[in-house]
């Protein structure tokens, strides 16, 4: 399907999306437009609906109403998680999720971009390029020395990094990153910001964070969600001046 009213230049088009759980409106006619190559930071109080929004985009939660279109043509509400992932939407969860019984290396191997079919998996052997790619990522996420350890045995923050690594190695068109800096030191937080900016050069990124220093470092457009809808949008500075944002989110 090809919704005509979607302007040509949006990679992700979320409009009028509502989700409710037992009567509680987690998303309330939410709209969010992301252009290709854009980096978007999303902030908002706990429970504002940020994670729920990602759930909707990645097919985990079906919206009660509203439009979610990817790449102008694909109605994401009609697809399941695997299809959406294969369309090129990658996600890092708020709570770090890795495949615990597998080693760090194997986690990356499975996330590696490539065919996802049964027979492809049956016959797949890592080639040198792929090996190198994994090693490169391992360096980047500083887990080289944990390469052959079971990922279930990682610390909280290490899992966080591994998940970021898995996201990167799968080379999605759109990255949805839920609280990447949680549990990181200030120095690592900055490093993560740099990393995302680097990636943004070739890909579109939507990132959720509560760490204002991190957001500032991203230096990009910010959307503030509140009670399931957009409260404010603009640069971090303008948003930080917004009295409503201060009241519900930043505090005095």
């Amino acid at each position: 399907m090809n919704p005509k009213h979607i302007a040509q230049d949006y990679l992700l088009y979320v409009d009028g999306v509502s989700v409710s759980f037992d009567g509680f409106k987690a998303l309330n006619s939410l709209s969010l437009l992301v252009k290709p190559g854009e980096m978007r930071a999303i902030i908002g109080p706990n429970g504002a609906g940020k994670t729920t929004m990602m759930d909707v985009i990645t097919g985990k939660t079906r919206p009660d109403s509203g439009t979610v279109v990817f790449n102008q043509t694909v109605d994401l509400t009609k697809h399941d998680e695997a299809t959406i992932a294969n369309l090129g939407i990658g996600r890092k969860f708020q709570k770090p999720t890795v495949i615990e019984p597998l080693t760090v290396f194997e986690n990356l191997e499975l996330a590696l971009a490539g065919k996802r079919g049964v027979f492809a998996a049956l016959t797949h052997r890592l080639n040198a390029d792929e090996q190198a790619r994994i090693d490169e990522i391992l360096e980047l996420i500083r887990l080289t020395d944990q390469r052959d350890n079971q990922s279930g045995a990682l610390s909280h923050g290490q899992k966080q990094w591994l998940e970021i690594g898995m996201l990167l190695i799968s080379e999605p068109k759109l990255l949805l990153v839920d609280e990447p800096a949680a549990g990181m030191t200030d120095e690592e937080t900055m490093r993560t910001a740099e990393l995302l900016k680097e990636i943004n050069k070739t890909r579109t990124v939507v990132v959720v964070e509560h760490d204002m220093d991190f957001i500032r470092a991203l230096n990009t457009k910010v959307t503030v969600l509140h009670e399931g809808r957009v409260l404010a949008e603009g640069s971090l500075d303008t948003v930080q001046q917004n009295q409503q944002v201060i009241d519900v989110y930043l505090g005095r």
């Binding site: 998680e81 495949i99 615990e100 499975l110 049964v118």
Partner: protein
């Protein structure tokens, strides 16, 4: 081809695999020799009785390997694997029935005896073709595969997982049992199919066929083992493990979980069906008892005793438990359940990774690190039950 090397030498990568491979080949060669060439009475002579018994255990071993593929590696705890085994068995049983021809007690060339005395007019359509061996053998694979496919397609697509899946597999095998009990269904009701005479022209009671079947079963086990190793050692094996322990993550990375599950479920069903097909001529009867839910649970028990997530362990578990049963039931007929039950309890308490875990801890160093890790998830049991309590008012 690159991957073919793995298929044919699937087990060169670790000592346990190598010894399994070698011992199976050895069994396939030595047992027939000891049975056929060593004269009776000689202390090395293996009586045909033992050959049949071993053959039966080996069929169970294949069945256990099949179950372990889905349970151990993909977390699908099937409590209904007897269904596939039984269907494979029935397919072969139907062939053997048709081979009787007019040598049945009523001398009817077209109808098996049980149909004659229950006044069937003609052979039901679904018996057609079973007079041909190749067809029966094909059906022994196709029918279980088809059932697994349809059932799996429904269940995996709807994301039925964990105990919900286990219990509906049990419901499936239970329904099959009740259905096969019904004489109207045309499979001989409770008595099932029996009174077999010959197979491919050889008498089923002849020593030659016995030994041949035994060798075939050994080879089937070998092949199942190789296929299993090929699958589990490939990337697909790692996807299966992810599905087992982090199904939703696997989806978010882009793997179509239901396809993977369906694939392994069908492969497993085919192996189980073949095991059933080889089992029937060796025990001489197939009846709905094979569909008894308790039997399917026992398969799970074999695998658990042997060590879930290890193909060798599964096979070993099947043999050990069944040998224990054979031995107990004739040596301690009055109290053997205490021993068997005790064996199960003790093995969960003291060998949490099953016999394989025991062996592994004995030969720890000899084993490859990665292989071991996959056997033993450090974290909690993957398909831990939905631990939910709240009920609504």
């Amino acid at each position: 081809m690159h991957s073919l090397r793995y298929l044919f030498f699937p087990s060169v990568r670790d000592a346990a695999g190598r010894s399994m491979l070698i011992s199976l080949l050895a069994v396939a060669i030595i047992v027939p020799i000891l049975n056929l060439l060593v004269p009776e009475g000689h202390f090395l002579h293996v009586p045909t009785y033992t050959v049949s018994l071993l053959g039966k255990y080996l069929c169970y071993a294949v069945l256990a390997v099949a179950l372990d593929l889905v349970w151990g590696y993909c977390g699908i705890l099937s409590l209904g694997h007897g269904a596939f085994f039984g269907l494979g068995g029935y397919a072969m049983g139907m062939y053997l029935m048709r081979q009787i021809g007019d040598r049945g007690v009523y001398g009817n060339p077209d109808l098996p005896d049980f149909m004659v005395f229950l006044s069937w007019e003609k052979l039901p359509w679904f018996w057609y073709g079973f007079d041909m061996f190749w067809f029966a053998l094909l059906m022994a694979m196709v029918v279980p595969a088809l059932l697994a496919y349809v059932f799996g397609w429904l269940a995996f697509r709807s994301r039925v997982t964990g105990v919900y899946l286990s219990i509906i597999t049990q419901a499936l095998v239970y329904a099959l049992m009740l259905a096969f009990f019904m004489n109207e269904l045309g499979f001989g009701g409770n008595n099932g199919l029996t009174d077999f005479k010959d197979m491919l022209g050889y008498s089923v009671q002849g020593q030659g066929l016995r030994v041949t079947l035994f060798v075939l079963t050994t080879l089937l086990l070998l092949v199942s083992f190789m296929i299993g190793r090929f699958i589990t050692e490939s990337k697909l094996g790692r996807v299966l493990v992810s599905i087992r322990d982090a199904e939703s993550k696997a989806r978010f990375i882009g793997y179509r979980v239901e396809h993977y599950k369906l694939f392994i479920f069908v492969v497993s069903a085919v192996l189980a069906g073949l095991a059933g097909a080889l089992y029937v001529p060796q025990v001489g009867i197939i009846n709905p008892g094979e569909f008894a839910p308790l039997k399917s649970i026992e398969i799970v028990v074999w695998v658990a005793v042997g060590g879930r997530g290890s193909l060798i362990g599964a096979a070993l578990g099947a043999m050990v438990v069944n040998y224990a049963k054979t031995w107990f039931t004739s040596a301690l007929p009055e109290v053997w359940l205490f021993f068997l039950g005790g064996l199960f309890v003790v093995s969960t308490l003291f060998f949490p990774q099953g016999l394989m875990g025991l062996i592994r801890s004995l030969h720890k160093r000899a084993l490859h690190q990665r292989w071991r890790l996959r056997q033993k998830p450090l974290v909690d049991e993957p398909e831990s039950l939905p631990q939910t309590v709240t009920e609504r008012s």
